[in-house]
Assembly symmetry: D4
Homo-oligomer: 250 residues x 8
């Protein structure tokens, strides 16, 4: 088994040509290179090869035991492991089972750092308000887990526009900018007009009344009048961090 934990399908095909495998067995063996069904979960052994990163555990809608088991299984393969949306009970189970795992309760992340070559560039993570920090931390920790350096710029929403303007140089030094905002979600439009780098906008569910749990921010960001802005799901700090890392490491 290779480092990524899978058999190379080319070896299967060669064994088949050499007659060491029947046609049916060859098909079955090729299948086996790609995934493994371990009961409630089908492990995607091939994801690292295809997408450059192993599986990440999404803890939402899962029991603490399911999260712990998945974390242990992935840690056993010798790489770093990242789990998001982890509640306190599940975090305790993982920390008990996996030495070296660290818990970031504000961001609801548990992770075991692996070895990665550091990226040459920086990712900026910007928040409109203090209440957006948990989502921003999910993004920032995801970036760091994936080997990136992060510059955090917090509480610079548009109602005091000089705050973000005074940070323009810091923004421009980053290669990718993640902007996290709730309420009207206007900050990405302003940032998008200030930098020449990709901007990833993360709407948060911060707000009340007609904020509708993040819909107002989401719509604001999708309709941004600035170019170079794209959007991920409401409160999806992980998605923004993952994508930022992918761009940053191109």
């Amino acid at each position: 088994m290779s480092k990524e934990g899978r058999t190379d399908p080319r070896a299967v095909l060669e064994a088949y040509r050499a007659g060491r495998l029947s046609l049916e067995d060859a098909v079955s063996a090729v299948d086996g290179c790609y995934f493994q069904d371990i009961g409630h979960t089908t492990l995607d052994h091939d994801r690292h090869r295809r997408t450059g990163t192993g599986e990440v555990i999404y803890g939402g809608h899962k029991t603490p035991e399911q999260i712990r088991d998945a974390f242990v299984a992935l840690a056993a393969r010798g790489n770093g492991v990242l789990a998001t949306r982890v509640g306190l009970e599940a975090a305790a189970l993982v920390l008990e089972a996996v030495p070296g795992a660290e818990h970031h309760p504000n961001a609801r992340i548990v992770m075991l750092r692996g070895e990665r070559e550091p990226a040459a560039h920086t990712i900026a993570v910007v928040t409109a308000g203090t209440s957006d920090l948990p989502v921003a931390e999910e993004a920032a920790l995801t970036c760091e887990f994936l080997g990136n350096t992060v510059k955090r710029i917090s509480d610079v929403g548009v109602a005091g526009i000089h705050r973000i303007l005074s940070r323009a140089e810091e923004l421009r030094r980053a290669r990718v900018v993640i902007v996290v905002a709730g309420m009207e979600g206007a900050l990405p439009s302003v940032v998008g007009g200030l930098v020449d780098k990709p901007v990833i906008a993360v709407p948060t569910s911060v707000g009340y009344g007609a904020a509708f749990g993040g819909i107002a921010a989401l719509l604001g960001m999708l309709n941004s009048c600035a170019s170079g802005v794209s959007v991920v799901n409401i409160d999806n700090g992980f998605g923004a961090g993952f994508l930022a890392s992918r761009i940053n490491r191109l």
Copy 2:
């Protein structure tokens, strides 16, 4: 009273023609063949004849006592009984009252298996992710309660497309395929393009943010670009299982 627990209306009509019943009494007696009002509930004695299956207890919005009473009443008629959306308290009441009843807490089902002729074909129940399992189990147990054999294929969502592709032959051996998915609900479209059997799509409320409690998955499935796919209500595993059984036993 017949095995299905109702009087045959033909007997009433014959008694009427023979003059043993007045016109008014005949109308009343015919009514009596079809249902029975027992206070808070009107039992539909005729459903088995009309639709091939007796009444199923939907436990949502009902008190534990109402669920228990209905279960006991239906069990007394000598057939199997199926109750869905049953909470822990109600389940305990039923198990205490009805020997032989079994509880599946993950699927929130309590059931008393009856005698049914086994179906000749298999139903496949496919899930996109581990979090969709409770709904899928509601579907699978419903199928089994109705006398079908079920093939479960779990955690084969579209982000690792080779997982479902490698199971294509298993899918094709089934006569009906139930696909359970949350988030973007894309799996039924892929399955619908792989098989020549009816596909029943079940959107789940798994997801967050703009998943909107299953609306994203529901819309995705209704707009499936694959033909041969139809949809049931969000989280409605029972409905999918019931329909799959009806098709499978045609």
Copy 3:
């Protein structure tokens, strides 16, 4: 009949006390002070006294003839008349019937200017983009009709934030600021953070896709993180202008 076109109800009460009117007649005469039913319309003769302004004709959902008739009737009372949402056909009918009426096709306004004491202060009307101009003109012309001086500041949306910043002094010289914006509707938040005057935000239906005909801008403005901002209906330039004038003339 007074200048506002209505009888004074005090005169009625005095006539009644003096016995010149019966109880029933007094009630009826008081009614008559307030409105007049002229078939398809009930003219609100009392509105000027109660709210400081006469009736304005909303041309939407009305036939050209209905608009023309209402305009003529109000013009006959010797004051200025304002009609909004007037199509080309209706405008032509009014211009033919009322000498001195002027037509602003971009703003869809027809108006006959009346005599009003000029307001001491200025109202600023700011637009995010060129496409917002028709709604902004409806607001600005309404302000001018009501006797206010208007400062127009156009095409200063947040994607080029220095544009609005460089106009900050002009904004601060106004007593009320109307901000008109479509798409994500972020401009009022920035303006609200720059001035210490009331800001009236007008969402426009400018945009496409998830702009949803102005919903995105409306939600953005309702959730503005800046204080001192309130919102009127989508594309409701008239409402903003009317309110701005009311504040400006306090």
Copy 4:
């Protein structure tokens, strides 16, 4: 540092011209006049100058400790402090830390009154029903915190129309009217037709069923057939009070 707690940027520019500051240092010093980054929060020292009021603490989505810290920091600058959406736990923390702070649990407000010149005019705060009182109190206390006199008129909804009519004179004596209503949100339309002053409508989440948490009231107010009405976010008593004060003190 001036009373408002910030350096005057003109001083910086003069120092720069005199050669006491390099170009880079001047830019940096100007920045410093406007805000201060203290970790999780960027204090907007310039807001008082720009908008006439210091920062207000929005307690929603914040931890009790964050609220307490922010309150203490702002109180230390010698002005009044206003915090909204403050829960019981956070309120206790603030009251313990800041002598003189007062807690209004119904309105979820904690505030430390500062010195302000009293406004010459009155603001009316009108509610449709008893259930709307908490939001109305948030508005009224905000007005009072900002130095205004408030006239409260409660429980005068449109189903008993004579209640509001009989208060028309009181309404007309106010310079600004705030109308707070849930359910169908019709009261602002009636009030808007009775007075010649600006009306600020606050939809509340009071209601059930198709009230949809305030959407019905919000839409009703946005579509008001009365002129001179504008709207703030659902349950946003603070926003209405702040804006009313801004208008009242023009």
Copy 5:
């Protein structure tokens, strides 16, 4: 065939008892008493007996020819005929084919008046604005077709509240009140607080922006704080008129 155009099922049952009909033929003959399949339409011959009124033609989504054919067929049975949502082309076809039919283009109604005993009481049809008149006329003409006297009260919306107040006595003389309003739909709440009769609220699609084609008015009416108000579909003047007549003739 009786005047209502159907066979009496009692006659069938008697023929069956007398042995003149077999069991199967009796069932079939009873069916025949109730409806008739004439190709694209299944005529409901029994509706008059069950509900007191014959079928009404809903012209929406139908071709002019389908409307004409249905109108002719119903007119041939010797009663009055009512068709709603009839466009100009279909109206011309009907008028040509059915002498005595009358066309009301504003209300989009074509009808052939039948003989009905006049109702003892009056129905009031109230509109908030001139733009609501077409829907109100659909309601009023439906009432008149069904034999009721109608009192029309127009353009008395809540922004000039004295208009409706001055008509309170007229309202109270009616036995049922239909209130037709667009925009915020507040008028039914005020009327419901003035009378002790049933109020039927009809939301119209009049309005713009956040009126959302009548949704704002619909929600306003459903959430009316006045008791005694119920609601029909947006723009459904016919439904309101039909129900009002049913109540009025009790």
Copy 6:
């Protein structure tokens, strides 16, 4: 003070004409006939005269103490009192304070029956499923409080259509029919096609997934293809009962 607890305004007018009251005092005294401001609530003393019924306490969004106080105050005027949406704590407070008050926990109603002349006709209250009973009981108890006889017909939803058909004669004997249904809300359409009486449809929040808390049932009822059906708010049993009584007692 009259039995309804208010002064007759005619007496005031006569005193004014006789010179016993000044003009200002007369206006004030007329006001006093209509309502009374008792702090957090404005009692509408005139509602009984205008609408035939006294005020009803809506307990939602109110504190237990507010409900108790209002109940005591209204009971003190010697009539019956009805309070809806009353929680257990508030109910206990009322029962302790008001002898004779009765509590219906399933319907969340507390009421003190008053003296009313019994209505000559019956109201039918029909439910689609057992889960709809609490809302139906709110409707039925409201009817009974207002002096009507109620016929309850339960659990006769459309999936077993013979259940409602067999009750058709009972339905037709009622003068008004209330139909309570959740899920798809189809029962009112079927009932509306069976009877010639007014049908009041009450959507309930019973259901799951795409039932969206009663929206599916609400839309179904608003779009009913049967004539003679109108709709009240989701779960608004009281509103349906109140309106039914108003019709029944015409």
Copy 7:
């Protein structure tokens, strides 16, 4: 090339094993078995094998020329061709280019019938109203194109419930039932309670006001209280017909 118009991939694999193809060429040749890129379209040659039916042309959002070209290309392969959502202009182009093609303008279908073995069972296509016929015809013609016999039952909506009841036997003789309905979409619930066969519900955009272009019917069907019902997209007659055929031919 086989009758289905594709190369058999087993032949490729055998050629590869025999050394007649290199590894890279084999991969490429296998690809070629499955599809063909012809510019704006990628023909899915393998769909017939996978799903039992060839590609169907969805004419929506396509130009007349694109539809004609696709139709000609598929017809050239010697099988039947089905195109849906075809406008008049595109239909004329196809009829001119393909002899034997037939046009059904009401259903917006153009098709060239192919040879298929007739199915042993019947599919029932039921409509609630005359206005639903175009969608029902799309379903029925799709069934017939795929070799099924169709029983049409039209205009039997729930407001005259005896219409559908009298057709119960015909319904029960079908193996699959398609129910097409707009407005409240209640008919599938009634049908689902009458038969023991799969019911496919098709919501239509027929209706007005709160029908919201089919949303009311869609939600009604998704929440059907009858078991055995599944739903396809609004107005998706083709999807229902395709699925019904797939079930009917199992």
Copy 8:
């Protein structure tokens, strides 16, 4: 004026220090470096410096003359010009006024190519269906205008999953992948699972019924279970192309 068409603000600051400019003039001159107000439009001369690209003309909601004028003005500055959402009439005006401009009617783009250094990498533009081509072309032409090479892969939607799988190598050779899809919008999830590059998803308004003009696709993409996917507005091909170029040229 520099090539980007603006004055360098450093020159202004130096002139100010040298005393050649007063404080007020310096502020004004700095302003002038950044933008220019030419009536209906405020040109953002500084955008090229800040964001790496000049202004792009969004033709939606603009008159043909406004589009032509803006195009001419930008072309006069000697760079390439891109205009999107250009109708036929506006395109003709531009082509007549600007030699060398080219019109792509399917993509609704008019552009004048400028000189740009070619990017070293390729951008893939993938479409799910033929109907998505116009939006995809808007994206592809935007990429090309900005100096990138584009690989188009068309009509490879998930219902025939082998189509996209067979193109996996081509996908992996791109540095950025744009995926354009309507209906259920599932294709980005599959692509995101196949590549290790950033994926930009563009929902299109292609579809019908519950596609709701692109909402279904938008929600599907926002909830993608694949990591590395972000989303732009519905039909926003330009936004995707602009962002892809920004990433590709990092």
